[in-house]
């Protein structure tokens, strides 16, 4: 492999994609042409000549139209002013949004009665003021025009009286036989009130049954604690107490109900500052990169089926009280990894933690508990509580039993609340064929989805922002959900209302139901209850409702566990492993119609609008996929025009055609499939996107399976790969540097290097950065010119700490929600026209087998010497006195020169009327404080200028300075880890200034002397001396 010159260089070569690593011509083209060639020609239906004619005519008409008087429109006053309402100002209401029953506490921003933004609730244990991308995007679900709006019987609009009559008649019949034919299927339920309603029904009908099914469930966790401690328990991790964290096939920092909190807590131990030179260490073993894996200091690619073997090896080295019979051998590399990890765990006993992901079988969880027990971690870094759900259960067992009963004809009335088993139930149950066998089936859901289409009745579901409710967080804390808006569609109902109807409490409002439950549960009454209720609603958390910590003891010492046979056959060569995982953005498929989540580049793969069969480069080559004529141009793998091959995967007699996609860091001989795609009835955005991985997923192969067969097809598939969009040329050679060195885009170092030299002076980046040519230009906007904080002059700036950035992308969606950023769709993303103002650049370093990952969120840098401003012919982008590089949309004529001249590639152009939305309901969502941009206009990050303006006006009104922390841009607000800090650089005490004065602060492309106001701290990691050495030599030998 002669071409990989980077390996002879300084070792600071970062690459963004395999294409770049391979130096593929397609990548060169992407790099050279910011606006790709195939994006230029007009669509076929207008010829150039006709276009010019139309253009001339419309110009003339546009000139005339300026002479007209525009009608002013109405002002609609209120008849009565609601309390606390200040016209034109926003209000925040505490509520909670739940995924799989687990709540994230939020503060929903309401403008004139419309929720327009979701922020985290600082009081809430699962949020601490931050959110995930999914929580941000749940706002869009409320306004989704594809939401189900009508009561349907066999797909036709029907009336409520018919429905109520039929339902109650069925219930009456069932009441007579104690509900023997009634089955209720829900997702995981933590809502105490809803659970109470269901239990009321079950009490009256003891023969009826309640099943719960989540496609992505944590039943293995419960079974694991049962093996270890004899009962179902839910673990809570104290990641702020952790010095060494070992995550085995677990995406603890990104997925799961506590992920936002865990990411926050874990990063408390990674804030490397001068005088604070300590850092925890993260070991991750996993088949494919996850967000946690990208953050890891030491990562081991290993198949999921071998995790048990690895865990047991660690347990053995630590003399943990567990006995298991495991076959298979670890490779010397894995063996070494296990040794180092065991040593580290032991050295930090009591302040270390080993966690195992939900996909691993219970036995592996039990091994982990034994290890944590042996290390004395239980009670320190991990505690156990009773499961937060109202009725914990084993979901796979539940759905299997339900399928069995339907098959046997035992189910006469099936009530499905907010679930979609026709799509996401294990494939061997053939659930879609079973539903029509039930004589009376009712489906409550927000969409007319795959399940709704098969049911007798479909009831549209109310969005949680439209109704009252209650829900628990991962630690059991209860939040009262309160409505922000009257239901948009009058026919929608909540699960609670439907259960109340069944229980004969028709007409009861959700408010009454929830309040009545808590009146009973709290034991309070009168004024005392009022106070308790108001406080709970106001704060968004109910005091003292977190589940108490349980003391646990191992069931037996040593534990004897059975590791399933699958894990024994790990070394059976030539069999492919299939690993199923929830999609990073659309989860198990429930967010498939959420365009924000669809267009959000997936944190790891940077693809969007699709799921793909992810595999390693070696496996990709081994399967012979590169030789297919349509997409191969030489024997190295590269994507030509974003084409990838379609393959057929066969597993246990089931088959799936899916696009194959090589991804760095994936373990060989394994394929990762994300769930949630390939939906047929998700809505206009979700239907038809991606491939349905559920077709291969069976009750026996719920998470991973070996023995898959792959057959290449002759077709190819277009992928929206944002990894090569908005490229910064990192390969440009600087004559003053080592001729083989690449432009050092990031400053990186290890903790050890930071301790010795906090400025990291010897790094290649510094050599370029410090070389700034003196300029004759007056430097008008230098922030350090106004040192006096009393002078009311602000110099806004931002510091991003990539060490804390996990790449979770919550900031990107928060930015989209705040700034009315349109969604453009897959076809436009392929043309590199996505509009997201904030992107997260993901760089790899090292060999494609197991590279290091570096994240850099890149917003507009607000350069003090901004190049974009110099080239704008109409002065549509200029500086203001606070150092903001502002963009004036109404002045922009769309030359795109500014974007050409932007080295960071942070400007976005409206090629079409992306923000033109046919559905009026979507207009309700838009932030009134931000201009909606039209076609032909350039736009970019504004540092949330609307929030600055608001703070400035508030401060001016009170004749004071804006306080530090008063302006928090949307990205900073959403960030769980505090990686983004914004503020006034003129204030020597501001947080941002203190970070900017850190020795390891650096400016990206600082050598250009654009003087960006957004700077970065060096990405510091904490590799283990024994492992990195081994890996470095491995990379070199490749």
């Amino acid at each position: 492999m002669e071409k990989r010159t980077h390996e002879q260089g300084t070792g600071e070569k970062f690459w963004r994609s395999l294409n770049e690593l391979m130096e593929a011509p397609d990548f060169e083209e992407h790099l050279a042409r910011e606006f790709p060639r195939h994006a230029q020609p007009l669509s076929d239906f207008v010829s150039r000549r006709q276009f010019l004619k139309l253009m001339g005519a419309s110009m003339a008409l546009a000139g005339l139209s300026a002479c007209g008087y525009k009608p002013q429109g109405p002002i609609i006053s209120q008849s009565k002013t609601p309390p606390e309402h200040l016209p034109g100002e926003t209000l925040y209401f505490a509520t909670a949004l739940a995924v799989s029953g687990f709540a994230t506490g939020v503060l929903a921003k309401s403008y004139e009665g419309r929720p327009i933004k979701i922020e985290g609730n600082p009081n809430h244990p699962a949020s601490l003021g931050a959110t995930s991308a999914i929580t941000q995007a749940m706002l869009l679900d409320l306004y989704d025009p594809d939401r189900s709006q009508n009561l349907l019987k066999f797909g036709r609009v029907a009336g409520w009286s018919t429905f109520t009559g039929e339902l109650l008649q069925q219930i009456a019949i069932q009441n007579a036989k104690q509900g023997a034919g009634v089955r209720i299927l829900t997702g995981a339920i933590t809502s105490p009130t809803l659970a109470d309603q269901i239990q009321q029904f079950l009490k009256a009908n003891p023969q009826a049954k309640w099943y719960q099914y989540e496609a992505v469930s944590w039943e293995n966790v419960y079974e694991g604690t049962k093996l270890a401690f004899g009962e179902w328990l839910y673990p809570l991790y104290r990641l702020d107490q952790v010095d060494v964290l070992v995550a085995l096939d677990s995406d603890i920092l990104y997925s799961g109900p506590g992920a936002v909190r865990y990411a926050h807590d874990f990063m408390q131990g990674r804030k490397v500052r001068k005088g604070q030179e300590r850092m925890n260490r993260l070991f991750v073993a996993e088949p494919m990169f996850t967000v946690t894996g990208m953050t890891a200091d030491e990562r081991l690619p290993i198949p999921s089926s071998k995790i048990g073997r690895l865990a047991y090896e660690i347990a053995r080295l630590l003399d943990a009280p567990v006995q298991a019979e495991v076959a298979g051998e670890l490779t010397p590399e894995e063996q070494k990894w296990a040794q180092v990890v065991a040593g580290e765990l032991k050295a930090h006993a009591g302040r270390s933690l080993l966690v195992v992901g939900e996909a691993q079988p219970p036995a592996v969880h039990a091994i982990a508990h034994a290890i944590n027990h042996a290390l004395g971690n239980i009670g320190n870094t991990v505690v156990f509580i009773a499961p937060p759900e109202a009725k914990p259960t084993l979901h796979t067992q539940d759905i299997r039993q339900l399928a069995q009963e339907i098959q046997n004809g035992a189910v006469e009335v099936l009530i499905m609340l907010g679930v979609n088993p026709a799509y996401d139930a294990p494939a061997d149950l053939n659930f879609a064929e079973l539903i029509p066998k039930v004589p009376f089936s009712v489906h409550l859901g927000a969409y007319v989805d795959e399940t709704a289409a098969l049911c007798v009745w479909h009831v549209p579901e109310t969005h949680p922002l439209e109704t009252w409710g209650d829900v628990r967080a991962f630690d059991g804390t209860v939040s009262i959900q309160q409505p922000l808006i009257y239901p948009l569609y009058s026919n929608t109902r909540t699960a609670l209302e439907l259960m109340a109807l069944i229980n004969g409490q028709a007409g009861k409002q959700t408010y009454e139901l929830v309040q009545a439950y808590w009146q009973k549960a709290s034991g309070l009454s009168g004024a005392q209850f009022d106070k308790f209720w108001r406080q709970s609603v106001h704060d968004g958390v109910m005091p003292r409702t977190a589940r108490p910590v349980k003391t646990v003891a191992l069931k037996q010492n040593p534990l004897v566990v059975q590791v399933p046979a699958l894990l024994d056959t790990v070394q059976a060569a030539d069999t492919l492993e299939i690993r199923f995982a929830p999609d990073p953005t659309i989860y198990d498929g429930r967010f498939a119609n959420n365009a924000w989540l669809q267009e959000l580049p997936k944190p790891v793969t940077r693809t969007c609008w699709d799921n793909l069969a992810f595999m390693s480069l070696n496996t990709f080559k081994k399967l012979g996929l590169w030789s297919k004529a349509t997409y191969a141009w030489n024997e190295d793998v590269s994507f030509v025009r974003d084409q990838v091959p379609l393959i057929e995967i066969r597993l246990d007699g089931k088959s799936l055609v899916v696009a194959a996609y090589p991804i760095p860091g994936h373990v060989d001989d394994a394929i990762t499939l994300h769930l949630g795609y390939g939906r047929t009835r998700a809505g206009a955005k979700g239907s038809g996107a991606g491939f349905n991985a559920y077709t291969l997923r069976t009750t026996s192969n719920l998470w991973f399976a070996r023995g898959a067969e792959v057959i290449p097809t002759r077709q190819s598939y277009t992928v929206a790969r944002t990894e090569e969009h908005h490229l910064i040329d990192t390969r440009q050679k600087d004559p003053e540097l080592d001729s083989t060195a690449h432009r050092p885009i990031l400053l990186t170092g290890t903790l050890e290097e930071f301790r010795q030299d906090p400025e990291l002076k010897n790094k290649p980046h510094r050599k370029g950065y410090e070389h700034v040519h003196p300029s004759m230009y007056p430097e008008r906007f230098r922030y350090d010119r106004y040192e006096n904080p009393d002078n009311f002059r602000y110099a806004w700036g931002m510091v991003i700490d990539p060490t804390l950035c996990t790449g979770c992308s919550a900031c990107v969606t928060a930015c989209q929600a705040e700034n009315n950023i349109p969604v453009v769709g897959k076809e436009q993303v392929v043309r590199r026209r996505e509009m997201l103002w904030l992107r997260i650049d993901r760089y790899f370093k090292g060999s494609p087998e197991n590279p290091k990952v570096y994240q850099a969120p890149v917003p507009c840098m607000h350069c003090e010497n901004a190049g974009c401003e110099l080239v704008c012919p109409v002065a549509a982008t200029v500086h203001d006195h606070e150092g903001l590089n502002v963009m004036i949309y109404n002045r922009c004529v769309g030359t795109r020169y500014c974007s050409n001249n932007c080295p960071y590639k942070v400007r976005r152009f409206n090629y079409y009327r992306y923000s033109y939305m046919k559905s009026p309901v979507l207009h309700l969502m838009q932030n009134p404080d931000v201009t909606v941009r039209g076609r032909g206009v350039m736009e970019k990050c504004t540092y949330c200028v609307q929030r600055i303006s608001k703070a400035r006006i508030n401060a001016k009104r009170e004749n004071r300075r804006i306080r530090d922390g008063e302006v928090i841009p949307a990205c900073q607000q959403a960030c769980p880890t505090g990686a983004i800090v914004f503020g006034d650089l003129n204030d020597p005490n501001s947080k941002v200034r203190q970070l900017r004065d850190q020795p390891h602060n650096f400016a990206m492309l600082g050598e250009l002397n654009y003087r960006p106001r957004t700077t970065y701290l060096a990405k510091i990691d904490n590799p283990h001396p024994e492992l990195s050495g081994a890996e470095a030599s491995h990379a070199g030998s490749h």
């Binding site: 002002i75 016209p87 034109g88």
Partner: protein, 241 residues
């Protein structure tokens, strides 16, 4: 060959050239003046309203403060059209049978909003904030000049960008003491005694040797006193986001 051009053609030529140029300039001037004229901006033309509300009657004749109805003006971007409830604080007691007020009573009784027609309008990409102005000594009268004399409410200013910028570049021309913001009859004190008395009354510090003599000098004093950063006022980001 006969002379094609006669002597008088020189005059014609001159007239054509200069006249043409003049006409061009005239056309441009006319165009720009027409677009700024009330004919285009509809300043002074009251739109139809569901209720013929008179600012003259309520403000001038009855002496009701602006903030009684537009109570959010000091705290919010919007001055706010009062809710029907506000109208009914008085009109549930007086003029209870007036047919002109029937829409108001209907609105209140049926909980249906009154739909007014906008008088002053700004494009969506302009973000104007009332509270930022009235808290810094820019009076209602500056933009809604003459409202105290209007039986039917009309726009009194063009609300075009040059008009906004005129003041944003020279706020001295219009600023007044904060306490006088809601006084539609305020006049800049015309002699040093009155000026001094006013400055003392509102505790505005001044140099006794250089008492402002006119609005511009008073304006400069107030701009400084109110911490208004004049150079910043014409930043694009002040009004456009």
């Amino acid at each position: 060959m006969p002379q094609v051009f006669k002597r008088h053609h020189n005059t014609v030529a001159r007239a054509t050239i200069f006249g043409g140029l003049l006409a061009l300039v005239g056309l441009v001037l006319a165009g720009s003046n027409i677009t700024r004229s009330p004919w285009m901006t509809r300043a002074g033309e009251p739109p139809d309203q569901p209720v013929p509300f008179s600012h003259k009657h309520h403000y001038e004749e009855l002496g009701i403060d602006c903030r009684y109805c537009h109570w959010s003006v000091t705290q919010s971007a919007h001055a706010g059209v009062p809710s029907t409830e506000v109208c009914m604080t008085c009109h549930s007691q007086i003029w209870t049978n007036s047919p002109l007020l029937q829409p108001v009573r209907d609105s209140y009784n049926n909980d249906k909003p009154l739909v007014w027609n906008k008088v002053n309008n700004l494009p969506e990409f302009v973000y104007f904030n009332h509270s930022a102005h009235v808290n810094k000594g820019i009076s209602c009268a500056t933009c809604h000049q003459g409202i105290e004399k209007m039986h039917l409410t009309a726009k009194s200013q063009p609300f075009s960008m040059w008009w906004c910028l005129d003041c944003h570049r020279n706020p001295e021309k219009h600023i007044r003491p904060k306490e006088e913001v809601f006084n539609m009859y305020y006049q800049t004190p015309r002699n040093p005694e009155e000026m001094k008395a006013m400055l003392d009354k509102y505790n505005i510090p001044y140099d006794p040797n250089a008492i402002p003599r006119n609005q511009i000098e008073l304006g400069r004093l107030l701009v400084k006193h109110y911490n208004i950063h004049k150079e910043q006022l014409s930043d694009c980001s002040i009004c456009h986001r």
